[in-house]
């Protein structure tokens, strides 16, 4: 009956599921920053980098709603098989305050994976810009980009197992990671162990560049978009960004200035995470030049910067 094609909802995930899963451990990574390790091979096999999960304490009404957390990474059990997922959170409010008290052996309610995830990598040089707790999607992104793990291997997934045809060398990846102060830096040892080009920035200069993370990001863009020598083409670039909104807007403007493709991972307040509530809207440009509110959860949370009306 309908000849009208549906607008794509790339973040609507047919394999999403709601589960109660056990906590394996909680680990402090930095000031007010904790890694929650959950046991669930099925979620670990279904998720891809950039997707997120909604988490809440089971059977309670205060706090009530789930909260969205990006996949930090999949963890492997003793036999090398995916054993579950890691989520990393910053203690900021009621729910994360409750999460901080969770102990190994307790269970949490979780639904996901949700959202579209980052696009499959096809670039030669990758710039990642992370601000504060916005670093959480990137351990999985890095692991996939370096060819160290295959995500989304669960049988029957619509997208099939993700396969990066040409993994990048560590030297082809730059991570610009900025926080308020050095004590908030999380996972730096891990990033360093990968051998990638890591550029840290702190607002107070307690570690790395003093100032905004956008400054090292712009230097990278300037260098990599310099006019290539005669007879040579420049590298194919990609910029991935997650962090506070003003920072993402600044990175999007820089990427546009240097004509580098850029993807932003948005975090809008969400009630459900799967498109039912219409809370998490963001302004998306329309073909007619106007804008419309679109749901971050099912049309994102990863958006090409150029479609956003920032």
């Amino acid at each position: 009956m309908s000849t009208l094609t549906l607008p794509p909802l790339p973040g609507l995930v047919p394999c999403a599921r709601q589960l109660v899963v056990p906590i394996v451990e909680q680990t402090r990574l930095a000031r007010d920053t904790y890694r929650l390790r959950l046991a669930s091979p099925e979620l670990a096999n279904a998720v891809v980098p950039g997707q997120f999960f909604m988490v809440r304490p089971p059977g309670q009404t205060d706090p009530l709603l789930g909260r969205p957390f990006a996949l930090y990474d999949v963890w492997l059990d003793a036999s090398g098989e995916p054993g579950g997922i890691d989520l990393v959170y910053l203690v900021v409010g009621k729910m994360t305050g409750v999460m901080r008290t969770w102990q190994a052996g307790e269970s949490v309610e979780i639904w996901g994976p949700l959202g579209n995830g980052f696009p499959l990598l096809t670039c030669d040089k990758l710039l990642i810009v992370a601000g504060g707790i916005g670093n959480t999607p990137f351990p999985a992104v890095l692991r996939e980009a370096l060819g160290l793990h295959r995500y989304g291997t669960e049988a029957g997934l619509d997208h099939g197992p993700r396969h990066v045809a040409r993994p990048l060398a560590p030297a082809d990846i730059t991570l610009c990671y900025g926080v308020r102060s050095a004590e908030f830096l999380a996972g730096v040892d891990h990033f360093e162990s990968l051998g990638i080009d890591l550029k840290l920035a702190t607002d107070d200069g307690s570690r790395g560049h003093k100032g905004f993370v956008t400054q090292p990001a712009e230097e990278w863009l300037k260098t990599h978009t310099a006019t290539p020598a005669a007879g040579r083409t420049g590298p194919k670039l990609a910029v991935y960004c997650c962090g506070p909104e003003p920072m993402m807007h600044a990175v999007a403007r820089l990427a546009a200035k240097y004509q580098a493709p850029c993807w932003l991972s948005l975090e809008s307040p969400m009630a459900c995470g799967f498109g039912a509530c219409f809370s998490c809207v963001t302004k998306v440009k329309q073909p007619d030049g106007d804008w419309d509110y679109r749901r971050t959860c099912v049309e994102g949370p990863i958006f090409p910067a150029e479609v956003l009306d920032l």
Binding site: P14, W111, S268, P269, A271, C272, F274, A276
Partner: protein
């Protein structure tokens, strides 16, 4: 096995578990979580005559055991609904009750007239109670206007009619009586309670629209009271209860208070598989009570 079927005048449902408008998207969003054909019915997100962008974010904020929302009827309009969502919805093996909101009586009548001719729909729910749209809440706070809209819709549309009422009134019974006089097959009790949340340090409201509607477990006792009052004082008007239902016990309480059916609302957001499980749980609960049908428990509250 207990008989779960319920008849709300002309609206006949296989079981009394429905999902509430605005909490279930257009069903597509819930496909990973809910076996749709188990449900008594689906009420998709409110449709308006023309597309609406909705309110500026933040559109929701959590409060103690509750959710404040000011979505603002974000939707693509009636014709896009029919073109994009109807075919999917009516193929899900359950009843679909379209929820509509008009700016004025004329628009309610135009929309219900159009929907009355659509094959596959099982009813119309009139949103005369949305607190987030200027004008929308006005119909449902006035008995005369409530009756006039329901009566008008009844004249132009052959589908069963459910009036979704606002709790933001002095006397919910008077509004329910007006809906009955206008010819409503049932009333849905209730829409959200007007409320707000404040960030005092910045001296700012948290919602983009300043004021929103409160839902979730926090409102359940108040809705339960309204269901009880309407059930006692408006005989012959079936009630679909909605307000903070998060478990089978909540469902049973509303049935005992006098509701013939229930809608699962905010719980779809924090427990997306709940609605699909409740039908089996209801079946088991009735069986363990030794009841032959769900109708035997409706309105069985013993009061002193």
């Amino acid at each position: 096995m207990p008989n779960l079927a319920v008849e709300l005048n002309r609206l006949h449902l296989a079981n009394p578990i429905l999902v509430a408008s605005g909490t279930f998207g257009y069903a597509r969003e819930m496909a990973a979580f809910v076996p749709f054909s188990k449900l008594g019915g689906i009420v998709p997100k409110t449709i308006t005559a023309e597309p609406r962008r909705g309110n500026p974010p933040p559109r929701t904020v959590e409060t103690a055991s509750g959710l404040l929302n000011s979505i603002g009827l974000d939707n693509d309009g009636l014709e896009t609904f029919l073109a994009k969502h109807l075919e999917y919805l009516v193929g899900l093996g359950t009843k679909v009750i379209a929820n509509i909101a008009g700016h004025d009586r004329e628009e309610f009548l135009q929309m219900s007239g159009r929907l009355g001719g659509i094959e596959g729909l099982s009813g119309i729910e009139l949103n005369i109670s949305c607190p987030n749209v200027s004008g929308g809440v006005d119909f449902g706070v006035d008995p005369a206007r409530t009756e006039a809209i329901v009566r008008g819709v009844r004249e132009v549309c052959g589908l069963p009619i459910v009036a979704k009422l606002t709790p933001n009134v002095t006397d919910i019974v008077a509004i329910a009586q007006a809906a009955q006089s206008g010819g409503a097959d049932a009333v849905t009790l209730t829409n959200t309670f007007q409320g707000m949340a404040i960030d005092w340090k910045h001296r700012k409201p948290i919602l983009g629209n300043v004021i929103g509607g409160l839902s979730g477990p926090a409102i359940k006792p108040i809705v339960l009271r309204m269901v009880y009052q309407v059930a006692r004082r408006v005989p012959g008007l079936p009630i679909i209860a909605v307000g903070g239902i998060g478990s089978l016990n909540d469902v049973m309480e509303f049935l005992v208070a006098g509701a013939s059916a229930v809608q699962i609302g905010t719980a779809n957001f924090y427990n997306p598989t709940l609605a699909g499980k409740l039908v089996d749980e209801l079946d088991a609960a009735l069986a363990s009570e030794g009841l032959a049908s769900v109708r035997e428990i409706v309105g069985t509250l013993k009061t002193p």
